[in-house]
Each structure stands twice: as C-alpha cells, then as structure tokens.
Symmetry: C2
Subunit: 326 residues, 2 copies
C-alpha cells in the first residue's frame, strides 16, 4: 500500500477533529473544548500515530480514534498547564481561563480528558485493551512530569538525571506513545512497536533539550518565544543545571547571585547568565546531548523491520522537529 | 451463592482502596490522591456496584476494579468541585487546594481521573469495552451536570425541568452507572442492567431532592451542614424554583427582594424565605416528588428478574439513603 504524505495525514487529522460533535449544551463546557482544539498547532502527535500505523501497512483510518485521543489529551494538558502557569496567551489567542475563567478551564479540561479516553473505544477489539493500557500509563506519566516540573521551581538542587527524567515524562512519553499506539493499530509485532516507542523517547528528549538551547541561543525571528525567558524566570533547564555543575567557584558564585536577585533588568541578567553559559561551554555540551539522543532515535528507527522507504516520513518528521522546519 | 452483607462489601472496598500503590514519586502528585481517598465517606457507589453484581450471582471480586474506578472518579469530582466552589473543608478535613494549593489540587485530580480509567482495564474481556463506554459516558455527564449547576448560579430563570436534568446529570447518573456496571460484571442481561440503571436514576433524584429539603427543614443535629445554607447563597433548589412559580404576586415580590438583597442577617433571611416556602406549600410538593421517584425506583427493582431476597440489600440501601440512616 502506498504511503500517505504528511500533508494527507494532517488533513485527515484536522477533518476528523472538525467532525467531533461539540456544539452541545452546556455551551460553557463544550465551547472551550472546541476553542482549544481549533487553535490548531502542528498536530505532531496524531500525525506521528498515523505515520507509525502507515509504516507497518496498517489502515490509517482505523488509527484515527487513537490519533484524536492523543491530540485531545495533549490539548487538555496545555489547557490545565496554562491555568497552573497563569499563562495568558497560547498560539496568539487568549487561554481558556482568560477568555472564560478558571472554573470553566478546569471543568472543560476534565471533559477533554474523558473525551480522549472515550475515543479509544472506537478501536477494534484485539488492540482496544492494550491501547487503553498504553494511553492511561502515558497520561499518568505526563501528570508526573508536570508535577516534577512544578516541584523543581522551588527545589534547590536539581541534578541532570532528575531533569532528564522530568522531560522524559513531561514531553517524551506522549510522543513515544503516539508512535506505539499507531504501530499497535497497524498490527506491528510488539518488539517493533517498542522500537518506535524508544525512537519517540529519544526524539522527545532531543526536542526538549533543543527547546532549552533555543531559549538562550535561538534566532528571535524564528523562535516563537522571547529569547532568555527561561533565564529571567530561573527555570532549571539543562543549560543552567550544567552551568552550576561546571562553573568554577567565581562563576558559580556570580550565577547564584543572579539567581537570588529579586530586582534586576531582564536584559542585563540574560546577558550575564549567557556569558557564564558561554564560559562553561554548556552550549556545546547541550548540543552533544541533543545529537546523541537524535542518533539513538535514528538507530531505533533503523532497527525497525520494514522497508526503508516506509521509514522516510518519520525520519523526515524527526529531522524537521530537530531543525524546527516542520 | 450466599449474598454478601453490606458490611462485607464495604470492608472489601476499603481494603482494596488501601492496597492501591500510591506511595510513589512525585509525592505532591500522589499524596493528595491518597489523602482524598483516605477521607472515607460512605463509599455508596462502589458498594452499590458490588451489590448489583452480587444480586445477579456474579463474583464480587471481579467487580472490584469497576467499584474502585467509580469511587476514585467520584472523589476526583469532589476534589475539583472544592476548588471551583472555594470550599475549605470536606468531611472535617482541609480540602486538597487548602492543604496544598490550587495547582496541586488540579493536577492530582487529573491524575485521579486517569487512575479511575486505568482501573477498568482489569475487567475481563467481554465486558471491558462496554464498561469503558458506560464509564466515559457517565463521567462526561457528571461534568455536564457540574457546568449546568455553575451556569444556574447566574442564570435568572431556571425551570423545574432544567433543574431536574441538572441533578440527574450531577448526581443520579453516577449512582445509576455504579449499579449498571456491577450488573454487567455480574453477567446480567442488558434489560436487567437497564432496570437497575433506572432504579439508580430515581434513587439519585429522590436523594438530591431530599438534600434540598433537609437543607431547609432538616434537624440541625443530624443534618451534616448548616440549616438554611442554600437560602443564604440563593441556590436555585427545587424548593426555590417551585416557590417562585407558586407564590402569589405579593410573596413573589417579597421573595425576589430577599434574593436581590446584598446586605442581610442570615437568620432573618432564612426565616423570611422559609415562611414563603411554608406558605407556598413547596415542602409538601417536594416530598411528593421524592416519594414519586422513590416509588418509581422500587418499581424498577421489583421488575428486575432475580429472587426477591437477592434484591433486599439494594432495597435497604435505598431506604437508608432516603431516611439517611445509612
């Protein structure tokens, strides 16, 4: 069977989302769900799910319920995270808790989570049970990642291993599960589905490290957020954790002074902290780590048993995520 | 097979809850879950689920995952409702958002919802898919009920039909689904499971109307909350909706004046509004409605095809809920 193009899969995801029946009462429950899902975004998870299914010659139509469940769950996490982070904008639109209020945002998020689980029951029988298991395990891990992330805000020492585990849970497992679910629907043997899961984990880790890097060293014209945002908020990123570990006594003291300072000019702090990052060479260090995970991801994909040209869409998607061209 | 006593079923539920592995990291995610589940309560939903299974001669052990899913989901709704209502106490203990904070309460609630769905995958195969369907449909309805309830706070006119639909969604469907899930696990034919569902709906409606009544006319010594709480907060209960409909022009005007008043002595308002309730005979009206639903519930139970003595535990539980002796 001929492979679908990424554009075809994206169109399939978007048309399926549009067909969800969300024009229901109570409007203040379902409108925010519709609003959140219509914000768009790259639909990376559902597209990955369909790609994985397609890669093993499965019927992508059959994987739609899983793809939608993943996208709805992901959007639910953004909705609730935005309340917790007191974020105001998401994709240039008001967050749900801003446009409506906190209560509406909490409850419509709860509803989205239920809708996500409910989607799964459209999956055919031999894989239904396994899919619920993968989905609920992953969903719980994403919550764990979010809690670790919040814990780290006030935790004084966060080591590299703790940080990597946090981003694995918060970001990587959902990408990995998207691929695994697609592979399972495509009737891939479990070792093969497992290889795609691992591919997703490494891509997810590399992607998140890349995000940390771009926050400091990205091009303000192409990076969606303000450069240095993580520095001004003392976010314990890979770069900061490494810098604290690698800096000599003087630099470390300087860095800690900046971290403790309540009153500062953002530009000045960004410049000073970036200088310490430069000095401790954490940029190279982070880039190496990104490369390492990216290569490990590619090894997993290479080891997957299917024709090489069927792997191409995932290979390209991974490259796109790395170089943010996707 | 001999029937289990309610005490045996309650003990089974409690020991199963205690065996949940919740001593895990991140502690600020799982501790609030454990805390919420350890607050106790009457465990009405899981006990009803096991009773329904038992009634049809099913193995109650097999229904434990469904029973736990119901109790965990119910406790999740309390946890998130307490944030939305800004409640401070629940069963004489600090609410999660008070003891920790809003973010911890939002996220640990989210985790509870996932854990509830995850429990279901322990159910045996022919009934697994049906159970997920019943559960997700019901869970979404509970969210709808909560949103209608919040909408009614600012909606000027709420009619009886809207109110009954709200309490059906917010309270009755989860009791009904508890019975239906138990019946399904107990291999009851679908018409029989449907009868128990309807029994649960009518019991739930009667129970909620009873709650409205007790809030005004209950004995302060045995009613858990302060008498007149609904009156001081202008809650659109069955009594208020009926009184607004039945009152003559003078009483209606008086009632509306009290509703609009921002500055008042609670005791005075409770006394005045109760007097209008007395005058419009809404107490009798409400009692008749409770009776009507209670009788309809008993009719459903009567119609269920199983030996009469197997129906006794549910009959007694229903009576207990009505007269609040359970």
């Amino acid at each position: 069977m001929a492979l679908h193009t990424p554009a075809e899969l994206l169109a399939l995801v978007n048309s399926s989302i549009e067909r969800l029946s969300l024009d229901k009462k109570p409007f203040r429950l379902y409108e925010p769900v519709k609003y959140t899902l219509s914000m768009g975004g790259k639909r990376i998870r559902p597209v990955m799910c369909l790609m994985a299914c397609d890669m093993f010659g499965g019927d992508v139509q059959k994987a739609i319920p899983a793809a939608l469940a993943l996208e709805i769950f992901h959007n639910f996490t953004l909705l609730h995270d935005d309340i917790m982070d007191k974020a105001e904008k998401r994709r240039n639109m008001d967050c749900v808790h801003i446009r409506w209020n906190d209560n509406v945002a909490i409850l419509s998020g709860d509803a989205m989570q239920i809708i996500a689980f409910d989607m799964l029951k459209e999956l055919p029988d031999p894989i239904f049970r396994e899919s619920v298991g993968i989905f609920s395990k992953t969903a719980l891990e994403v919550c764990e990642g979010q809690q670790f992330d919040m814990d780290f805000e006030t935790q004084e020492n966060v080591c590299e291993a703790e940080y990597m585990e946090m981003i694995r849970l918060k970001t990587a497992v959902l990408l990995a599960a998207s691929l695994k679910l697609g592979a399972v629907v495509g009737n891939a043997p479990s070792t093969q589905a497992g290889l795609l899961y691992d591919f997703g984990i490494h891509i997810g880790l590399a992607f998140q490290l890349q995000d940390d890097l771009l926050d400091v060293y990205g091009d303000p014209k192409t990076f969606g957020k303000n450069i240095g945002g993580d520095i001004t908020t003392n976010k314990k990123t890979y770069l900061l954790i490494q810098a604290l570990k690698r800096a000599d006594a003087t630099s470390r003291e300087q860095l800690e002074r900046w971290l403790a300072l309540k009153d500062f000019q953002p530009d000045e702090k960004i410049k000073a902290v970036t200088a310490i990052f430069d000095q401790t060479k954490v940029k190279d260090n982070c880039q190496q780590e990104i490369e390492r995970h990216y290569n490990m991801a590619l090894e997993c994909l290479k080891a997957t048993q299917t024709e090489i040209d069927r792997k191409e869409p995932l290979m390209k998607l991974a490259a796109g995520l790395m170089y943010r061209t996707f």
